[in-house]
Symmetry: C7
Subunit: 100 residues, 7 copies
């Protein structure tokens, strides 16, 4: 089954593992430099002696995931997990349910 | 008793069980490709060695549930449960009550 | 004492007990088909082997409770409790108090 | 000391004790039928074998408390406590303080 | 040191101790009758056998504290504590800080 | 290193220690009388036999801290700590982070 | 790999360690004096005998991190950690996820 995906990724929340250098500031700036990215929020979750866990919330009209991942890997980090994706005509928020 | 259902499904919250491949990103994009779907939020709830639990919040003017389910199953996943449905002329939110 | 009730029910929150079939999706759609209903939110609260507990938040300009109940019973469910009612000229929200 | 009270009661939160019949739905409708009442929210707090505790949030431009109480008593219930009153030119909300 | 206070009290939160009679409803109405008071929210905090603790949130363009206190005392209550005051050109809210 | 500070203090949150007299009401009014102050919220945090802890949230276009402190000290209180400052072209709120 | 970073830093949340003097007020004012800074919120997190932990939330159209850090160090403090960065065309907020 083949899809030609026409949908737009509008928000990505990813958990990035990175060494202390380059800094989170540089990572965030480099990701936000990608043409498909409108803005980035990078929040440090945990600091280890060797590595840092940083949560990136990335927004754009049509985010190109592969470019985002390549920027992170070129800078020495890795995408540990993709935690949330919003795609389509607008950003759909995660709806709270009584089971949450 | 037979109904010809004319009502519109405007939001669906479903719990999807899926293998690690294809990725949640691809699942979300494929679901949002459905003609009846305006947007999708896919949030990872739990990661196992074999499977992932992903909560999908799907919005649209008139969502076709069967198509959504077929896309998920074609991609190798399954709808584990339907947790919330909003249908009618607009999205009615779950109203908090003192008993919640 | 006799009242000719002229007031409009604008929101109903009811706890419905239903078998697994027909699905919550069908229940929600059937309820939202009622002429007096503008929209329905159906959120699954609990799943048992035999039955499901589903919280329905129903909105409309002038909801006819008897029709709603008849639809649920025709579909094989029952209204376990009526948890919240808003009636009058607009929807009054439950006001928080220091004693809650 | 005598006051001719000119102020308007704009919101009343009362805790009502009632038997199972008439239903909360009927109580809420009857209260909202009062000329001075614009809208009613009735939320069930507790269910006993004999009685129910229902929290009523009542709004209006100038609520007549005595009429509200009479309706409740005529229907077989009683006002167990008055938990919140807002009166004056507009509805003043309970302001949170660090001591709450 | 003498000040001619020109500032306007715009919100007062006071804790009032009162007997069961007159009712909280009457207290709230009497306070809101004061010329300098635009609106009152009276929320019952605690009920004892002899006395009640009622939290009053009082708003106005320029509240006259002495009048408010006199009304409460004339009605048989007492101001147990003044918990919050907002004064000046507009109502400043209590700003949350990480130390709260 | 010398700065000629041109920036505007727009919000100050201070913790004030004061005797019971003059009252918190008088303190709040006196602080809000300062020319550079637009409004004051004074919330009582703790009451001792001898002293009171009052949290002041002070807003203005360009608050003069020294005047505020002088008013508090003239009235018999002391600034126990400065807990939050917002300065610049507008009030920046404390941004929540995952580490909070 | 070289980037010419064109992106704009719009919010910085940093944890600053500083001696008691100069005061947090002076620190906040000096940071907000930087040309690239529109506003600063400085909230005290912890007070030690020797040092203070202050959380700075800094906003601007295009914040120059190096200037901010230099101001803090010139004043005798140090940036203990950079906790959040928002950069791009607008401030992206940290998106809540079910895993938080």
């Amino acid at each position: 089954m083949e899809y030609t995906l026409m949908t737009h990724i509008r928000r990505l929340v990813i958990d990035v593992l990175k060494p202390h250098e380059p800094s989170t500031l540089e990572f965030a700036q480099q990701v936000s430099e990608a043409e498909s990215v409108a803005g980035v929020n990078a929040s440090v979750i945990e600091l280890d002696r060797e590595v840092q866990n940083v949560k990136f919330t990335i927004e754009g009209e049509s985010i190109d995931y592969d470019t985002v991942e390549a920027i992170i890997e070129d800078a020495g980090g890795s995408v540990h997990s993709v935690d949330q994706i919003a795609c389509g005509e607008y950003i759909v928020e995660d709806a709270p349910t009584p089971q949450d």
